[in-house]
Symmetry: C2
Subunit: 437 residues, 2 copies
């Protein structure tokens, strides 16, 4: 066995990912040493309570509640605690004591990423975070390195496994949202409080991370437009299927060109995708990131978006990279945010839309609707009218499904308000963007 | 504009990829400088004939026939000439004069990769080759870095665009091989001499590169088992479709476990894939690499496998990485081949098979066939018999399509020989492996 230099590795957190990382580090120690060029010696695991019950067997002597003492003198610090504090303080401490840091903490990166990157830059360290977006799927390095010579035009990502699981079952089984959510909770795919997933908060954090990388621009989390999937019911799903679409919760990061130069838009919402699009066939709790770049064309990265052992794979890849850098010497590669493109609000984005309305079934109504759309600069591409039953006042009710050409979100939104107030529209059933052109 | 350090970039070759690289380097100079932390100054383009007609307009003053003079004093040398010599000599010269090198030359890497990597190791330089496998698809960094902490079990790649284009059209249009090949040649998807593509030589080179990386093992090109697609005709394609499969030319790199430890198999052949497998929906000239890793699970990387500008994207990503390393200092990351697993011949590989036979349509034949299979340790999973017409001697002919359980290639091959010589088999129509379990 080669006599390698030893690198001291500290682990903060021993949850489902952390315990897998600890176990793989020991299980594959020799192989990892060959690949990294150094022995990765796990010197301690910081936890809140050393006596708490855990999934995996971790050596009792490695557990400690004293994270500060553990961090001092470590070469590589892996943060898998989650949350903002004390994770942020520990990572800054690690960076300032000369360690490279590995984290899977999307919430922290999406809110305090620039602070961490700046601190690392100051001392020539590097922050590794492959596991923070799309779990085991290698997407950070492709965006940061492989596409560094290209210009990313758009990213469309299915980056939340829980919502994809729910939407996929609603689509394939015709099930209702609440039923599938309950199932997902029972199976461990969704948390007891599912808000972070189903309201798109988790996806928005990942969108901010991906957009920052792709556009070399700092993307604060509050500039990410966010809508969840709780408004998607069986009838909306059925209508989408009928029209040849599937509904996916998408993180869309887009470069926009206008008269006043380039800007970007970052948004998360349920959108219609053509069934022939590669993203449409991403099933279950899987993730996929579809990237359109000026030179490379269309790329897609597919795999498991979550899971302890899957995420541990991404974390360990980062640990090996950090170790190699330690051995090679030289300063770390910093984050490039020199483009710093302006971030536009969602109102200035153009997409296609599908508007579903219930209208009074009487002469002249279609003309009124068409007139309001036209005045609002929303151009009709497709239209389907069906009779659905009786309205509140006893008259007939028709359902209109209107597919638009590309329209400005602000125009569209104002137009829908005017439709709702027009007197001929009984109900705005749904308004969904169509992505993936 | 930031006052960056300048790095001298030399380009060897000005074909379809080279001219795109030259053009993008100049077109996006400011943006690339921000990302790399250095201005990438294209100091010259070595060509065989400065007066030859070219696709793109290249500044006449950059063209030179004196590659040696160009290489001396360059910080980064990009080799896009193709072929073994003089590319090999130039790259060694560049490495030994302290440059980092970027190459898309799969033939060279598959045959002289270790020599180049060793030379780079000696001087602390690095060899970048993202463009050498699967064109614009980022696969080298994911394998080398992102999955460095994981254990790759199997790679199945559609890594040759020409053959995928041909097989896809045969599948979707029911066309014959020769007709589609002629079309592909007319459209520029296939070369006038299509041997390298249709006989699997190109895919075998890429398989060797991917397997070396994935298994940390030197994989000489002559250990890669290789079969092309010229034997696939319309009837074979139709039969595959009928059975729920599609035929793809696959590069399979597999880790095998046996009583005497681990080994690997690297092979290229047309194989049957279930239509529900993600690789089955890779259409046209696209490429995709499906990776199964112990911890990460199933991953897929999809995109354009060839094309001048697409490949240029991968080359430029490497150039930016090389520039960042120059700025950061430190030695390059070497290739890790310390695992050096034994490479087994294809005879020792087990897969499922589909055997199609024409047999005499008379009592006892099925029993004979089943007996030969059983004696040969080939177990039948599915069987379909249809009557197809009259045999050479006037008796009836039946077609047997036999799906096997997993069998050893050597057993299978000997069994097929015995079937052919048995007197009851009129013709062995096809023997295809089934991949993707």
């Amino acid at each position: 066995m080669t006599d390698y230099r030893r690198l001291r590795v500290a682990l903060l957190g021993a949850g489902s990912v952390g315990s897998q990382v600890a176990s793989l580090l020991r299980q594959h120690a020799d192989e990892l040493a060959d690949r990294a060029g150094a022995r990765l010696e796990l010197v301690g695991i910081a936890v809140r309570d050393v006596d708490a019950p855990r999934d995996a067997e971790l050596p009792r002597e490695l557990l400690t509640t004293d994270a500060d003492a553990l961090i001092v003198g470590s070469d590589i610090v892996i943060e898998l605690m989650g949350g903002i504090e004390p994770a942020r303080t520990y990572l800054l401490q690690a960076i300032n004591s000369g360690a490279d840091v590995v984290t899977a903490n999307k919430a922290l990166l999406a809110t305090h990423g620039p602070e961490l990157f700046d601190a690392a830059d100051q001392v020539g360290a590097e922050v590794y975070y492959e596991a923070a977006a799309a779990g085991a799927i290698p997407i950070i390095r492709p965006l940061r390195d492989s596409l560094a010579g290209d210009r990313v035009q758009r990213i469309m990502g299915i980056v939340n496994g829980t919502t994809n699981y729910i939407l996929d079952r609603m689509d394939t089984e015709g099930a209702e949202f609440a039923d599938v959510l309950a199932d997902a909770q029972r199976l461990g795919y969704a948390e007891a409080d599912p808000t972070a997933d189903v309201e798109g908060y988790d996806a928005a954090q990942k969108a901010a991370i991906l957009a920052s990388l792709a556009f070399h621009t700092t993307v604060p989390l509050d500039t990410v437009h966010r809508e969840g999937i709780t408004g998607i019911d069986k009838s909306t799903m059925d209508a989408a299927r009928h029209a040849g679409y599937v509904i996916k919760l998408l993180a869309v990061c887009e470069r926009l060109s206008g008269d006043d130069g380039e800007s970007i838009s970052v948004r998360v919402y349920p959108a219609l995708i053509d069934r022939a699009h590669p993203l449409a066939s991403v099933h279950g709790a899987n993730n996929a990131v579809f990237v359109q770049a000026e030179a490379a064309g269309n790329l897609m990265f597919y795999g498991a978006g979550a899971g302890g052992v899957q995420t541990a794979s991404a974390v360990l890849g980062d640990v090996v990279s950090a170790a190699r850098r330690h051995i090679a010497g030289g300063v770390g590669v910093g984050e490039s945010t020199l483009a710093n493109l302006p971030i536009v609000p969602v109102g200035r984005v153009t997409t296609r839309y599908q508007i579903t309305l219930e209208v009074d079934d009487r002469p002249g109504v279609l003309a009124t609707v068409a007139g309001i759309l036209s005045e609002g600069r929303v151009s009709i591409a497709t239209l389907e009218q069906t009779v659905v039953g009786d309205g509140a006042d006893g008259s007939g009710v028709a359902r209109l499904v209107i597919g638009t050409h590309k329209a400005l979100e602000q125009d569209l939104s104002e137009t829908v308000d005017r439709l709702a107030a027009s007197g001929v529209v009984e109900r705005v059933v749904s308004v969904l963007r169509v992505e993936g052109d």
